[in-house]
């Protein structure tokens, strides 16, 4: 199988269509399982009471906000460097979902902060850099929709996305580099996580669900973008209908 074949939007369009249910269905199942474990199996936290249950959506949303941004920047860079149309479309498709997850992480963070810290918001390093991430997404989306010429819009978006990548390690390490109100990481790649079994399980299941959801929704959206931008694919779909 020649994978390069699928760099062409006309070939990728039907492939993406076949892949979507394989991500969407497990995502829906894992959301239900994750919430069940999070609300019915995971015990009440000794320090935070039940307020901690917000982390089952907050942490996965925050991770996805960061990861999708890096992915967006990589696709945007590939689209710019190799003039690859599909890569630029993927970047555009990722921007909406990334912005949505960053928005969720900010709002749920505020809902967690109010009862736990006593304030909805503080201008500390973690929160401020997360807000900047949200503005980077919004900037990318507005820049793309403001520029009429598609190739120029993609290039301008790519430039913004690549420069903005510097913000992602700042978010990730902000809790180590600065003395912030936001707590440090609970889960590290090399160390044992400092969180109880069912709590960790619920968070990881929700993370998997958010990942699968992101893949599915980004594929659905990129198919829409292909139809909007590529006249010949739209005609091909029409001919088959």
């Amino acid at each position: 199988m020649n994978l390069y074949k699928y760099a062409a939007p006309a070939n990728f369009y039907p492939l993406a269509g076949k892949l979507i249910p394989w991500f969407a269905v497990p995502a829906a199942i894992l959301f239900v399982v994750g919430l069940y474990v999070g609300f019915f199996i995971a015990p009440t936290d000794a320090q935070q009471g039940d307020a901690y249950r917000i982390i089952f959506i907050h942490v996965p949303a925050a991770w996805l906000g960061m990861f999708l941004y890096v992915l967006l920047a990589i696709y945007a860079a590939i689209g710019w460097a190799f003039n690859a149309r599909l890569a630029s479309m993927m970047a555009t498709s990722l921007s909406i979902t990334g912005a949505m997850f960053t928005f969720i992480s900010l709002v749920t963070g505020a809902f967690w902060g109010k009862p736990t810290w006593g304030t909805w918001w503080v201008w500390d390093a973690r929160l401020t850099s997360s807000l900047i991430l949200f503005f980077l997404y919004v900037g990318f989306i507005s820049l793309q929709s403001a520029i009429e010429d598609q190739r120029r819009a993609d290039r301008a978006g790519a430039l913004l996305a690549i420069v903005g990548v510097i913000n992602v390690p700042i978010i990730y390490f902000s809790v180590d580099w600065w003395n912030t109100l936001h707590q440090g990481a609970t889960i590290r790649i090399l160390n044992k996580p400092t969180i109880a079994g069912p709590m960790l399980a619920a968070m990881l299941i929700m993370l998997a669900a958010c990942w699968l959801y992101s893949i599915a929704i980004v594929l659905v959206r990129v198919r829409c973008i292909i139809l909007e931008r590529e006249q010949h694919v739209a005609q091909m779909v029409e001919a088959r209908a």
């Binding site: 609300f39 009440t44 009471g49 039940d50 307020a51 249950r53 917000i54 959506i57 907050h58 949303a61 909406i96 979902t97 949505m100 928005f103 969720i104 709002v107 749920t108 809902f111 967690w112 109010k114 009862p115 959801y213 929704i217 659905v220 959206r221 198919r223 829409c224 139809l227 909007e228 739209a234 779909v237 029409e238 209908a241």
Partner: protein
């Protein structure tokens, strides 16, 4: 288990359910908007 206790979330109900409600609206909104966009495109290609 007791459902009214469950909805109270140990006094944190507003914050916990507020969080999940906002998340549900955000994710649901994304799906609905995209679904409408897809429908619009399908109508355009079959017209």
């Amino acid at each position: 288990m007791n459902w009214s206790e469950f909805f109270k979330m140990g006094g944190y109900g507003f914050y916990v359910w507020g969080s999940y409600l906002v998340s549900l609206v955000a994710i649901g909104g994304e799906i609905i908007f995209l679904w409408k966009r897809k429908k619009r495109l399908q109508q355009r290609t079959t017209d």
